[in-house]
């Protein structure tokens, strides 16, 4: 930690360190009642506290996506396919990716800052001195909470976005609701399209919380160190989510 780090200074070494950190955290995993209660608390702080931004963004994404798609599709006389396009793009790509990037901005940054400041104010030392493993008490619950909260938020995002689509297509453009839902049900596969998206959501949740705790844990315990770490969390999450998204999409198709 002596030399100042930048995100791309030495990506391979950085990746190795992040991996060692993750393996350490996982190898010391111990599921006690206290641990589960703490995880649930973190689900509240990361998941419930992100609901407002997720619902707002989800609704408007659904609205604007339907507007643009409907306009394009009607030029080809295929306006009825709007619900299919909406559901497929949401379930497979937009839901998981946008939710995770919003999650990184809303919850990931606060996890990073919290852990960084815990280090700066010696709270991590204090845990160590009380013979409580900070990996177990601080890192693991936040890691688990991300894996739970992000898929849950993706589901909420998808529901509100589809609701936004219904508002535009059915209420404003007069698409027949039976056609809207019928086309969606006919062409969206539960396993490949919907569950495939949820697998992505779990992977992204894991990625986002891993990066958030890692940058918090390794942040230099100063104000600028914590500020830099929160920035890195957002950048690294956005980039790696898009990269992993491409890889997962290629595998699943």
């Amino acid at each position: 930690m002596a030399a100042p780090r930048t995100l791309f200074a030495n990506p391979v070494r950085e990746l190795g360190r992040a991996l060692v950190f993750l393996l350490t955290a996982i190898s010391r995993m111990r599921l006690t009642r206290l641990q589960i209660a703490e995880t649930l608390r973190q689900v509240y702080f990361t998941g419930v506290r992100s609901l407002v931004i997720i619902v707002t963004c989800g609704f408007f994404v659904g609205l604007v996506l339907t507007l643009q798609t409907y306009d394009t599709l009607t030029r080809f006389g295929a306006g009825d396919a709007v619900s299919t396009v909406l559901a497929l793009s949401l379930f497979r790509e937009l839901g998981p990716v946008l939710t995770t990037i919003l999650f990184a901005g809303r919850a990931g940054t606060s996890i990073t800052a919290e852990i960084g400041l815990m280090r700066a104010t010696e709270q991590l030392d204090a845990l160590d001195l009380m013979a409580i493993d900070p990996m177990e008490r601080i890192v693991q619950p936040r890691l688990l909470a991300g894996i739970i909260a992000v898929p849950a938020l993706v589901l909420v995002f998808n529901v509100t976005a589809i609701f936004g689509g219904v508002v535009f297509a059915v209420f404003l453009m007069g698409v027949d609701p039976n056609t809207f839902w019928g086309n969606m049900q006919a062409s969206v596969e539960l396993g490949r399209d919907f569950m495939g998206g949820m697998i992505k959501a779990v992977a992204f949740g894991f990625l986002a919380s891993w990066l958030a705790v890692y940058y918090g844990w390794t942040a230099r315990p100063t104000s600028e160190g914590v500020a830099l770490a929160t920035t890195q969390t957002v950048i690294a999450t956005a980039i790696s989510v898009l990269l992993v998204d491409f890889i997962l999409s290629a595998i699943m198709l």
């Binding site: 104010t121 010696e122 709270q123 030392d125 204090a126 009380m130």
Partner: protein, 273 residues
């Protein structure tokens, strides 16, 4: 109490050397902390006081030499044994280091919940008693941010005592306190030590206060123990380093200037550029 023999020592550091990277901090340090007393470890900033504390708690391992707590060699412990040792040592860190997302009550309860199988009603009673000792039972449901720095440190003291340790370590417990808070802390450290018969180590550079609470005192400078004994004896010492520290002189064996090239050379260079 000056002629403490090694038998009654609770903690001993024998020929301990330690370096941060290639910067040596402690050089062949010998230190005995008598059991059941309040010992002050003093010295100028950066002399290795906090390192001594971190060696005792096993957060750092000595490069050479042995650190003995009772009969246990801290450097040889496996993680599990180290955790066992730490339950027996209460540490008050510089700013208290309370968990900001927990109330005072939960902060004090944390080590009890983690390390004892006690039912909640008993934990509640124990926590309230500890908070009563530091005079903050009324603040049990408040968050650390709602209390002053001095009160924060008193809550942290209650937390450090939660498991009834045999040894209490205080890292700079008076730094940045107003005179009233400082008086309170002084009295608490002394009272806790007397009441529980534990060994206390206070790391500090507040020379004037040391006399009021310490039974024994040792002065570290440049990685070595330069003087030890009763505080009164140290105050009258003729040693130059001791005098500089006890009287707060700006220059002396501990230089005012950070090591650098001669001033005229530096100035000439910058003029030439």
């Amino acid at each position: 109490m000056n002629n403490n023999d090694s038998q009654s020592a609770a903690i001993r550091l024998e020929q301990v050397s330690f370096a941060w990277g290639d910067k040596p901090v402690l050089r062949d340090l010998d230190l005995s902390i008598p059991a059941g007393r309040v010992t002050a470890v003093m010295g100028p900033s950066g002399c290795g006081k906090t390192t001594v504390l971190r060696l005792i708690t096993g957060q750092q391992i000595a490069d050479r030499g042995r650190v003995l707590v009772g009969k246990i060699d801290v450097g040889q412990l496996k993680p599990r044994e180290l955790n066992h040792l730490r339950r027996n040592i209460g540490v008050l860190l510089q700013n208290g280091a309370l968990f900001t997302d927990l109330t005072c009550f939960d902060n004090v309860a944390l080590p009890l919940r983690e390390h004892t199988p006690l039912p909640e009603p008993i934990i509640r009673r124990l926590v309230l008693l500890k908070l009563q000792t530091v005079g903050l039972r009324g603040a049990a449901d408040m968050y650390p941010r709602e209390l002053s720095g001095g009160m924060n440190r008193r809550v942290a003291m209650a937390r450090a005592m939660a498991l009834d340790p045999d040894i209490m370590l205080y890292d700079e417990p008076f730094a940045g306190l107003d005179p009233i808070s400082m008086g309170t802390s002084l009295r608490l450290i002394r009272d806790i030590n007397r009441a529980l018969g534990i060994t206390s180590i206070v790391i500090t550079h507040d020379v004037d206060e040391v006399v009021q609470f310490a039974d024994y005192c040792c002065l570290i400078s440049e990685g070595r123990v330069v003087a030890k004994g009763a505080p009164e004896d140290l105050a009258e010492s003729e040693d130059e380093t001791v005098r500089q520290f006890m009287q707060g002189l700006a220059d002396g064996p501990v230089p005012f200037h950070f090591p650098a090239r001669p001033l005229d050379q530096d100035l000439l260079d910058s003029g030439a550029r």
